[in-house]
């Protein structure tokens, strides 16, 4: 199974550069631990959301610009993109998308240490 990250927005579906390792997924639990008078505890939780992070050691100028365009389009169109990760049970999940700063390391415009973070959410305005 080849893992691929796809982002969909108003401009279409875009395949992100080939993945390196690791592609990290963590669960964000909106949970509170409550302590009773006995000292025992219980947990209340209202939602679980997923967060994916990935770092590329190097990306070309074109590859970085693609990520940057998707990021800027989300801001100008007031809507989050949809994330699909082939190989994981993730299809068209609304995500808040963060992109690390552009760290150009040579005259060709190659960028070093590019990180993306996708935080699962929902389009509240829709």
């Amino acid at each position: 199974m080849e893992y691929k990250i796809l982002l969909t927005d108003s401009d279409g579906t875009h395949e992100l550069p080939a993945l390196e390792v690791p592609l990290t997924r963590e669960n964000y639990e909106k949970m509170t631990t409550v302590e009773a008078l006995s000292g025992n505890v219980y947990d209340d939780y209202i939602s679980t959301k997923r967060i994916w992070t990935h770092t590329w050691a190097y990306l070309s100028k074109e590859e970085y610009d693609l990520l940057d365009e998707i990021y800027e389009r989300a801001k100008s169109e007031f809507t989050y993109p949809l994330l699909t990760i082939n190989g994981e049970a993730v299809a068209d999940v609304v995500v808040r998308y963060e992109l690390s700063p552009k760290n150009i390391v040579d005259n060709c415009g190659n960028v070093q240490g590019v990180s993306v973070t996708f935080r699962e959410t929902r389009q509240l305005g829709s």
Partner: protein, 517 residues
């Protein structure tokens, strides 16, 4: 306690509890397309169609709005219910905050609902576990939302529909005889356009021989509060939006929930300021009389009052006792059971003066007297024949009851009650003994934050197992809040002593069952 599945209670008691909630609001107050209103010549009488509410009356039609779901924007929900002592009326208030990062709830903004961000928007709030979010509140927003631009939030406050009804003036004059509390309540709710499907009123204990209210002179709350005080039952709008009434002996009396060290998070005790060991009840007990002279005046009603030639003037008469079925007076002494005289220059006028109509209220009577003569007349000597409801014995009745033992222990704690819905000594005695039974002894009032269950309701009996506070308690105030991924339930509870009231044909004579006051 609201009826829930065992699975719901399992979730409430679980180690890890998946909270759920909901906020439904009808900002535009559009009706639900699935609700069909009654159409003349098309709908079947007593069929399923509803009478369309008159005008913009959300109190009448809270069930019929199309509500939009704003759950995804919820930041917190807080619903509080408490008994208004000593009226036995429950009021509910809700606060909730919505994510307003995009200004969607900001009035006078570019929001598509901007023009609908107004007071009195119908709201439904829910709290629960997993897939079951229980109804917690139905009501109307109060005022405009509080908008925080820095936090990106809109905060609303809402009051339940019953609280809104209390502030509304009575729309029709009520004069009823030998009516129970529930019948009066039904009359009031009908005035506000509520259908019987919107309320559930049990048969009350109190019977009121005569009662009257004038249109526009009092609010529904002015009537309902003392009515409920006399009954000492409970009137509330339940979590689903149904108005319910239960008399004082039909309150829950068996524990429905259990709390112990593992399910109580905090516990505090309250002061003993709710001890009552002396009850003084004052009431004007009225009884409707047989037809008789209800009002009379000898001489001119007002020396300066003159009805000019060929004109009509109102003569306002304030009645000392509420009176019904007044016979319309005619000109000349003894011309009918009710009569009046007219004079001109000291001479009695025997013709050309008559009645052009009356405005009859139970506490006032206005005659519109027409003078067809070519000279002015004065009116004098009015006698009105009707059925007055006079105070029995001529003065207000006072009933006094106290608990010697409690007075000795805690000093005298008086509760004075002045309530004209208490219309008999036995009724006053019953109310006073019930109050003394419940309040004359020091009973712990505890406030506990618990591992809560949103199905719990006001008046429920809970079983507490925690050190010296162990025992049964009645819930007298309840606060349910969901915020920061935590469901916080705070209960104010009063120690409950079970009473088994004597039931004819069921209880054994000389058993532990006691006669209900």
């Amino acid at each position: 306690m609201q009826v829930v599945s065992p699975a719901f209670n399992q979730l409430a008691n679980g180690d890890i509890r998946p909270l759920s909630w909901g906020a439904m609001i009808s900002f535009d107050k559009e009706f639900d397309d699935d609700v069909s209103f009654f159409t003349l010549d098309q709908s079947v009488l007593n069929g399923l169609d509803l009478l369309a509410p008159s005008g913009d009356n959300p109190i009448q039609a809270w069930d019929y709005y199309a509500y939009q779901d704003f759950t995804e924007r919820l930041v917190y929900i807080s619903v509080e219910r408490s008994l208004e002592f000593p009226y036995s009326v429950v009021s509910a208030i809700a606060d909730f905050q919505l994510n307003n990062y995009d200004g969607y709830f900001t009035p006078n903004s570019a929001s598509p609902i901007s023009s609908f961000i107004l007071p009195k928007r119908p709201v439904r709030l829910l709290q629960g576990f997993a897939a079951t979010a229980l109804p917690q509140f139905v009501g109307l927003t109060e005022g405009m939302p509080e908008i925080s631009r820095t936090e990106g939030t809109a905060t609303f406050t809402a009051m339940d529909f019953l609280t809104w009804i209390y502030d509304m003036p009575i729309r029709q004059t009520i004069a009823m005889q030998n009516v129970r509390t529930d019948e009066v309540l039904a009359n009031i709710f009908e005035q506000f356009g509520l259908t019987p499907a919107q309320y559930d009123l049990a048969v009350a204990r109190n019977v009121i021989p005569f009662l009257f209210f004038e249109e526009g002179q009092q609010t529904a709350g002015d009537i309902i509060r003392p009515l409920m005080q006399a009954e000492m039952g409970k009137l509330w709008l339940d979590e689903q939006g149904i108005i319910r009434f239960r008399p004082r002996l039909e309150q829950p009396d068996t524990p429905v929930y259990y709390f112990d060290h593992d399910s109580i998070n905090t516990l505090e005790t309250s002061e003993d300021d709710e001890i009552i060991n002396h009850v003084v009840i004052r009431a004007e007990v009225r009884k409707l009389q047989v037809p008789q002279v209800a009002y009379s005046i000898t001489g001119a009603i007002d020396d300066n009052f003159v009805i000019p030639a060929n004109s009509t003037q109102p003569v306002y008469i304030e009645l000392s006792d509420p009176t019904i079925n007044i016979v319309e007076p005619t000109l000349g002494e003894g011309s009918s059971a009710s009569w009046f005289r007219a004079y001109s220059n000291g001479e009695e006028v025997l013709s050309g003066v008559g009645l052009d109509g009356v405005a009859e209220l139970t506490n006032s009577y206005t005659l519109f007297i027409e003078n067809n003569n070519s000279f002015p007349v004065t009116i004098s000597d009015i006698v009105l024949w009707g059925e007055p409801a006079r105070i029995v014995g001529g003065t207000a009745t006072t009933y006094d009851a106290y608990d010697d033992e409690s007075v000795e222990k805690y000093e005298e704690k008086i509760l004075p009650i002045s309530n004209n819905f208490i219309q008999s000594i036995s009724q006053a005695e019953s109310l006073a003994l019930t109050l003394l039974d419940e309040y004359s002894e020091y009973n712990d009032i505890i406030t506990i934050e618990v591992k809560g269950n949103p199905a719990l309701q006001l008046s429920d009996i809970i079983d507490v197992d925690y050190d010296e506070f162990s025992g049964e308690y009645r819930v007298i105030s309840i606060s349910n809040k969901t915020q920061d991924a935590k469901f916080t339930q705070i209960l104010k509870c009063k120690k409950y002593t079970p009473r088994h009231w004597f039931t004819l044909d069921q209880s054994l004579l000389n058993s532990s069952d006691v006669l209900a006051p």
